[in-house]
């Protein structure tokens, strides 16, 4: 309410709109994240030829909750899914079902998260998730799981390199679950906002996005590079304005095999709707990815030519270093944004 009043006041006074996320906002990485995994499947281009890799033994989302922050729980999925017999074909998409087949998107399910956001990240902190808090968070460092309502959905992740199954072959398909900054607190969240749990007071609320799920079937142990990205429509962007994250996954040969994007919130982050510094949309998974001759990464998110962010030459830098460039979405009339990325 306070933020909306501020924006109305700015518009009334003719002051250029610059919407901040707010001092009460902060992204953080949860220590617990229970997610309903009803089914995991792979499909060929066009969504055909579905093959089931894992099917939960339970019949409801509630009975199929998996703490994806817990390595033991993740390993149990792998044990249950071992030696799946899959039709020989070329697969391009991994699908994670939160609800039984055929459940409409109007049906609700829930996730459950647990974690603490430090005092340095948000004014009045630290805050922790709490089972009984109406807004999902209380002051302090004692965290318990709190449920957040989600709509039933299927998360489809495009494999930028197709996964090829040949007759008689045996191979591993690894899903790397990246929980970095997958939840954030916000005193001004609304219960009507997707993925949020909120009360009607000024207490801290909690919001969530789907963790980054990175398909991997390369060799060697993967490593990660995480960048925070700020935007501006002209000039040089400021690091403190960062409102998005880019997470690169690197295989054992040092090559980037996946790029994930997500929104990012801090006390100084800019709202994504801001015309001056908002930048493109970072809420979709990557559709295409390639490495340029100079080692920079080109990737595009989203399922089609829409407003999801894309980069033509995203640079890889050392920890703490920054690089600049341009990005935009695929809409012909959309602006080209100048960005600044800071390696975390």
């Amino acid at each position: 309410m306070k933020k909306i009043s501020f924006l109305i006041l700015c518009g009334f006074l003719g002051i250029p709109s610059l919407s901040f996320a707010g001092a009460s906002q902060a992204s953080f990485t949860p220590t617990g994240y229970k997610y309903p995994i009803m089914k995991i499947s792979i499909t060929q281009a066009g969504g055909v030829g579905e093959q089931v890799l894992y099917q939960c033994a339970g019949t409801t989302s509630a009975s199929c909750m998996v703490d994806v922050a817990n390595p033991t729980a993740l390993s149990a999925i792998g044990t249950a899914a071992a030696n799946a017999s899959i039709e020989a074909a070329t697969y391009t998409t991994i699908n994670l079902y939160t609800c039984p087949d055929g459940t409409p998107g109007t049906t609700n399910t829930s996730i459950s998260v647990m974690g603490t956001v430090p005092a340095t990240a948000v004014a009045g902190g630290p805050f922790s998730t709490d089972t009984n808090a109406a807004g999902g968070m209380i002051a302090g460092t004692t965290a318990t799981f709190t449920d957040i309502t989600w709509a039933c959905s299927t998360k489809s992740i495009t494999m930028t390199t197709p996964f090829v199954v040949t007759a008689g072959s045996t191979q591993n398909l690894t899903l790397l679950v990246d929980l970095t900054n997958s939840v954030w607190t916000d005193a001004n969240a609304s219960a009507g906002m997707g993925g949020c749990k909120a009360d009607a007071t000024a207490a801290q609320d909690i919001c969530s996005v789907m963790p980054l799920v990175i398909p991997y079937f390369g060799s060697g142990t993967p490593t990660y590079e995480r960048y925070l990205v700020a935007h501006i429509n002209a000039g040089t962007a400021l690091a403190v304005d960062a409102n998005a994250g880019v997470n690169l996954a690197i295989d054992g040969n040092g090559s980037v095999f996946y790029a994930g994007t997500q929104p990012y919130f801090s006390a100084s982050s800019i709202a994504s709707t801001d015309a001056l510094k908002g930048g493109p949309d970072y809420n979709a998974s990557t559709r295409t990815l390639s490495t340029n001759a100079d080692g920079t990464i080109a990737f595009q998110t989203g399922g089609s030519a829409d407003n999801r962010v894309g980069f033509t030459a995203f640079q890889r830098t050392a920890v703490g270093a920054t690089h600049t460039g341009t990005c935009k979405n695929e809409l012909g009339t959309s602006p080209t944004w100048n960005y600044l990325a800071t390696r975390q």
């Binding site: 995991i40 890799l53 894992y54 994806v68 922050a69 817990n70 390595p71 993740l74 390993s75 999925i77 792998g78 899914a81 071992a82 030696n83 799946a84 017999s85 899959i86 039709e87 020989a88 199954v165 040949t166 007759a167 008689g168 072959s169 045996t170 191979q171 591993n172 398909l173 690894t174 899903l175 790397l176 679950v177 990246d178 929980l179 970095t180 980054l212 990175i214 993967p222 990660y224 996954a249």
Partner: protein, 124 residues
């Protein structure tokens, strides 16, 4: 031309009659007067000619009957042979069928599937 004493043995009689008929020496099936005339010309008496004529015709009749009997016998033998051939063929087919059904199954179809192990890990 000579009239010979027709033997009583069926086979010999038939052979002799066939030879005689083919040479035109004695038309046994001809009329009795012509047979007597032919016999007289060969130095036989009429009585002998009559006797020979009747005996030859009797033998010929018997031979014809025997020929039918022989044909029937041959038919029966051929039928038996055919039955044996059919029986052997049926047995052969049956044996082939049993062999096909009981021989070990050899899998020649190629699999169209691969094995995938799904692994979930936390990205650290």
């Amino acid at each position: 031309m000579s009239v010979f004493a027709l033997p009583y043995h069926k086979t010999e009689a038939m052979m002799a009659m066939r030879e005689t008929l083919s040479q035109g020496k004695l038309l046994v099936s001809a009329s009795l007067p012509s047979a007597i005339k032919a016999s007289n010309q060969s130095g036989f008496t009429t009585l002998d000619a009559q006797s020979l004529y009747h005996r030859a015709n009797a033998l010929l009749t018997k031979s014809n009957l025997w020929g039918i009997h022989q044909s029937m016998k041959n038919l029966k033998e051929n039928t038996m042979k055919l039955k044996k051939i059919i029986t052997v063929t049926i047995i052969a087919f049956a044996a082939f069928g049993i062999w096909q059904c009981t021989k070990p199954v050899t899998t020649t179809a190629t699999t169209t599937k691969g094995t995938v192990n799904l692994i979930l890990q936390k990205a650290i």
